[in-house]
């Protein structure tokens, strides 16, 4: 405490030095005078008294110096002096300073940007209290994982487990809000009351729902998001206990969650899952209604223990309910891993790549400093001769490089902002937690540390050199020739730059090739001139299936009548979507496999003309027509069970090949084992269509694809697809008008062209390529600048030697060879090292590459050629200058 006070006082006394010096002079003066007085009192003469007093006092100047050192903070003053001197040096060489700062800004800025992404997405804990204890739960099978839970399984797990403090489940839903301005589609999460408790999430105002409201017969209640409250519902605290109309039903608002509570993702409201669980489908153990688990581990319980505990329960259920649960296990992951696991690898790869860029930038600046050190050799020698210690000189030079690094970091922050914007554009929605990315103090600290580290890194070599300067030699010599060891270091730096650049270029090349191959994949549908949008006929208005089917038919008529529309249809889900809807199926007339071996198909419910609108080829049989409706039921009202109205199916070519390789699939019958046996729908194959890419362009294999007539089994979440004759985006307004003519309060949302959907589906690959490509380009530019700089410098230094060679008869071509040869030697060594490095490192890319081997020879050869050609150019310019050396001038100098 006292010491701190002392430091502060000393810091404060850095000001007003002259006045304080004067005061101490006076104190000494009075001291000596008193001594003289005393001496005179003892009988000495005045002269003798003064002499004795001065002898006793000793060295006045050294006392003053000791006093000054104690008064201020000498090292701080020294540092300040170094900084001012360094700043003066930098100001005196604006060209050098600009190049160095800019180079560092690129390196540090790019690193800052990528680190801020890594930090926000991977490193920072989720925004829940003690979030390390949170886990996600899903179902898994022998060769798949991440499946949704069936409600009865969830209940059994919950009741039998002993490892979780809280265990809840959630699922997504969409609802229409009416009575608060324009009708609008809201994203909602159905959650059990335990989810709030597990997350330890507190509402901003009001309360969240409890167990009592999370029951089948409970009155409808909702918790709303901060954004919905503010934007749609007035933002007044009085909102609690008010009601809102969702899908035509009145829900009482219990509370408002604070901003930033985005569980399970960004939604507008949270409803208790209890009322839905009464649905007979939810009670089926083989139905998986998009339900996922989230739980908080009890204190002291490890993830492994929880996994072991739940495995036992799953095994028990497997025995108890083999029909539905055979081979079904529990998948437990940390909630953070579950959320960001898919991007973890690419983000670490990007951070690794960007750190290469920083190293290259450092090498370049070190090179610049070394070149400048040659010019400053005399200055250093002079300082050393005047008594500056080795450590003193080193410190001076390190201060200079630290200053450069900090300037670089400052400018780099601006650059980082730009890179971050690029990241958000390229990433689309492919990065989870993207909203949390920012240049916050955490990140600023990181770039500060990076700056200090880089400053030391690139400043050390020149400083070390300068401190070992050979006094006599340097002062005598007229600054001729570079010290050989310094040239050695500079060559080493350039080689390292080339090697690292090679690795980055290979990485970028592989990703580019992979991306190209990905975009060349035939998705199985037309990408051009297709507009899609979503609608949800609300249950209160379209209560029966018939009403909804009538709406769909009317909409299709309206859209088809629109000029510029070639075809219009509806479907349950466009291709290249997340997740999917799958069901088991059986081939009629063939032996039935046990439940866990039954195959699955991807369900698509479609209206007529879907294949035409989407450009999916019809290979055999026919498309669905308006007549594929419920007439065949002959009024039998068993239509409550799902699929009861189905009687036909269209399958994809792989499905047909797989099950009827030598037969005509048309007319074959397929059973969907859904519901009680006897009530299970049996459908007849009426057509075969081309296979589409279901989830991603990179899909390989996957489930059989099946299409059912929507007019036999309507659904609420509809996608409308419109094939246009012109640019589809321009049709959006016209399409909206058609919808509002049929139903003025029907919200239209999620308007996208198929091209947009295709492009968004490759957003992760685009991001990887864009960033790694950018980094590789940056690295190439920096490395070339480094190479050029080194050669230009040596040419200048060897001008005399070259002049003499030419005077002795060397031809221009010999000189060219000399310089270019020197450059190319460095390149070749760098390329060989880079090649070996790439062979070792590109393996990490294997999982993000599509149809490209990490050791793709074409890429390696291309990169080698590219790098050599560009490097040759960089060598050629200084080489040509060398040939212009004037032999006479050189001789005169000698």
């Amino acid at each position: 405490m006292r010491m701190l006070r002392g430091w502060l006082v000393r810091l404060g006394s850095l000001s007003n030095k002259q006045r304080k010096d004067k005061e101490f002079d006076e104190e000494i003066e009075s001291h000596v005078q008193m001594h003289i007085d005393d001496n005179v009192g003892l009988g000495m003469t005045l002269e003798e008294a003064r002499r004795q007093a001065m002898i006793k006092f000793g060295g006045v100047e050294s006392t003053k110096e000791a006093y000054r050192d104690q008064r201020g903070l000498p090292w701080l003053e020294m540092l300040w002096k170094d900084i001012r001197y360094g700043a003066r040096q930098l100001r005196k060489n604006p060209g050098f300073t600009a190049v160095a700062v800019l180079t560092l800004a690129l390196g540090i800025g790019a690193n800052t940007a990528i680190f801020s992404v890594v930090d926000a997405v991977l490193l920072r804990p989720l925004p829940y209290a003690d979030s390390g204890q949170l886990v996600s739960l899903s179902e898994r099978g022998p060769d798949w994982s991440g499946g949704s839970l069936s409600y009865p399984n969830f209940i059994d797990w919950k009741n039998q487990q002993s490892v979780f403090e809280r265990f809840g489940a959630y699922s997504g839903n969409n609802l229409t809000l009416t009575g608060a301005g324009e009708p609008v589609r809201l994203g909602a999460a159905l959650m059990s009351a335990e989810v709030f408790a597990a997350l330890r999430a507190q509402p901003e105002i009001g309360r969240v729902f409890g167990e009592g409201e999370d029951k089948p017969s409970a009155p409808p209640v909702a918790v709303i998001s901060h954004a919905l409250w503010q934007n749609r519902l007035g933002g007044q605290p009085g909102i609690v206990d008010k009601t809102i109309s969702l899908n035509g039903k009145a829900y009482t608002i219990l509370g408002v969650m604070p901003e930033g509570f985005d569980f399970p993702y960004k939604v507008d409201l949270w409803l208790p899952v209890g009322p839905s669980s009464a649905d007979s489908n939810w009670q089926k153990r083989n139905n998986h209604p998009g339900l996922y688990g989230v739980a908080r581990l009890k204190p002291g319980v490890t993830l492994e223990k929880a996994r072991a505990d739940l495995d036992v329960i799953a095994a028990r259920l497997e025995q108890q309910y083999p029909e539905s649960n055979k081979t079904r296990g529990v998948q437990i992951d940390r909630l953070l891993d579950n959320k960001v696991g898919n991007v973890r690898r690419s983000l670490w790869i990007l951070l690794g790549a960007v750190s290469f860029v920083l190293v290259i930038a450092c090498a370049n600046v070190a090179n610049l400093l070394l070149a400048r050190a040659a010019a400053r050799e005399k200055e250093m020698a002079l300082r050393a001769a005047l008594g500056a210690g080795r450590w003193r000189i080193t410190r001076q030079l390190l201060t200079e490089s630290g200053l450069l690094a900090l300037l670089g970091a400052g400018v780099g922050l601006l650059f980082a902002k730009g890179v971050l914007r690029l990241v958000t554009v390229l990433a689309g929605e492919s990065i989870p937690r993207a909203a949390e990315i920012s240049l916050d103090p955490h990140v600023l600290l990181f770039s500060g540390l990076v700056a200090v580290l880089t400053g030391t890194l690139f400043g050390l070599a020149p400083a070390w050199h300068a401190s070992r300067v050979n006094l006599q030699g340097t002062l005598k010599e007229a600054g001729r020739g570079a010290t050989s060891s310094r040239t050695g270091i500079r060559q080493g730096l350039v080689i390292a730059e080339v090697a690292l650049t090679f690795v980055l270029l290979v990485g970028a090349g592989l990703l580019l090739l992979s991306f190209h191959r990905l975009l060349q994949v035939n998705p199985g549908f037309a990408v051009d001139r297709v507009l899609t949008f979503r609608i949800n006929p609300p249950e209160d208005k379209y209560q029966t299936d018939t009403q909804e089917i009538l709406f769909c038919q009317a909409l299709r008529e309206k859209l088809r009548a629109l000029p510029g529309v070639q075809a219009a249809s509806l479907c349950s889900q466009t291709p290249l979507h997340e997740g999917g809807w799958d069901m088991l199926f059986l081939i009629e007339g063939r032996p039935e496999p046990p439940p866990h071996l039954q195959p699955s198909l991807q369900v698509h419910l479609i209206a007529p003309d879907y294949f035409q609108a989407m450009g999916i080829p019809l290979l055999q049989g026919r498309d669905f027509t308006e007549q594929d409706n419920r007439e065949h039921l002959k009024g039998a009202l068993a239509a409550n069970a799902w699929g009861a109205g189905l009687n036909s199916i269209i399958i994809d070519e792989e499905f047909a090949k797989h099950y009827w390789p030598d037969q005509n699939p048309i007319g074959q019958r397929v059973r969907i084992p859904f519901g009680e046996r006897g009530e299970q729908p049996v459908v007849t194959v009426v057509g075969v269509v081309g296979r589409i890419k279901e989830n991603r362009l990179s899909d390989r294999g996957g489930m059989e694809q099946a299409y059912f007539p929507m007019y036999q089994q309507p659904l609420r979440n509809l996608v409308v697809v419109v094939k246009t004759t012109a640019e589809p985006g321009a049709m959006a307004t016209a399409v909206r008008q058609q919808v509002s003519q049929i139903d003025p309060v029907m919200p239209v949302f999620g308007i996208h062209t198929m091209r947009e959907i295709r492009n968004n589906s490759v957003a992760p690959e685009r991001l990887n390529l864009g960033l790694l490509g950018g980094f590789a380009a940056l690295a190439l530019v920096l490395a070339i600048i480094g190479l050029y700089g080194l050669l230009a410098f040596t040419v200048t230094q060897r001008q005399r030697e070259i002049g003499i060679r030419m005077a002795l008869g060397a031809q221009r071509i010999d000189v060219l060879n000399l310089v270019v040869g020197q450059g190319m030697r460095l390149i070749l060594v760098g390329v060989v090292i880079g090649l070996l490095g790439s062979l070792a490192l590109t393996r990490v890319l294997a999982s993000v590459l599509f149809k490209v081997e990490p050791t793709d020879p074409l890429t390696f050869v291309t990169v080698t050629v590219l790098l050599c050609v560009v490097a040759l150019l960089a060598c050629y310019i200084p080489a040509r200058r060398a040939t212009r050396a004037d032999p006479m001038a050189a001789l005169r100098c000698e």
Binding site: F24, S30, H31, M34, Q70
Partner: protein, 116 residues
């Protein structure tokens, strides 16, 4: 820290501050020259105070808040800077005295093993 006069003992590092504080405790308010004289007299002229050390030491004590200073007039009407103890300084004397006594006790055991 060290007096150059060979016949007189050196002032040990760290002990000068305590001597200054004790001197001020006894004398109340005193200028630098007076402090030096008092220390030398108290030591029965066995010690000689080096001013190159004394003044930085006074400054350090003042920076740490153990003493304070103000300009005033000496006995023979000379302008001089007078130092005096602060409350923190009084406490520091107690603490340092304790430390010092403990130290000498330990040392005594080495010098005279019979006590142990």
């Amino acid at each position: 820290m060290v007096s150059s006069m060979s016949s007189k003992a050196d002032v040990w590092q760290g002990t000068l501050a305590l001597m200054v504080l004790k001197t001020l405790e006894r004398a109340g308010s005193l200028h630098g020259y007076g402090i030096a004289r008092r220390i030398e007299e108290t030591s029965a002229k066995l010690l000689s105070v080096n001013y190159g050390t004394l003044y930085p030491a006074l400054l350090k004590l003042e920076q740490e808040g153990y003493i304070s200073s103000e300009w005033g007039l000496s006995d023979n009407n000379r302008k001089a800077k007078f130092y005096q103890l602060t409350r923190a300084g009084c406490k520091q004397i107690e603490k340092e005295t304790e430390d010092w006594e403990q130290m000498t006790a330990i040392l005594a055991r080495f010098l005279n093993p019979k006590i142990a």
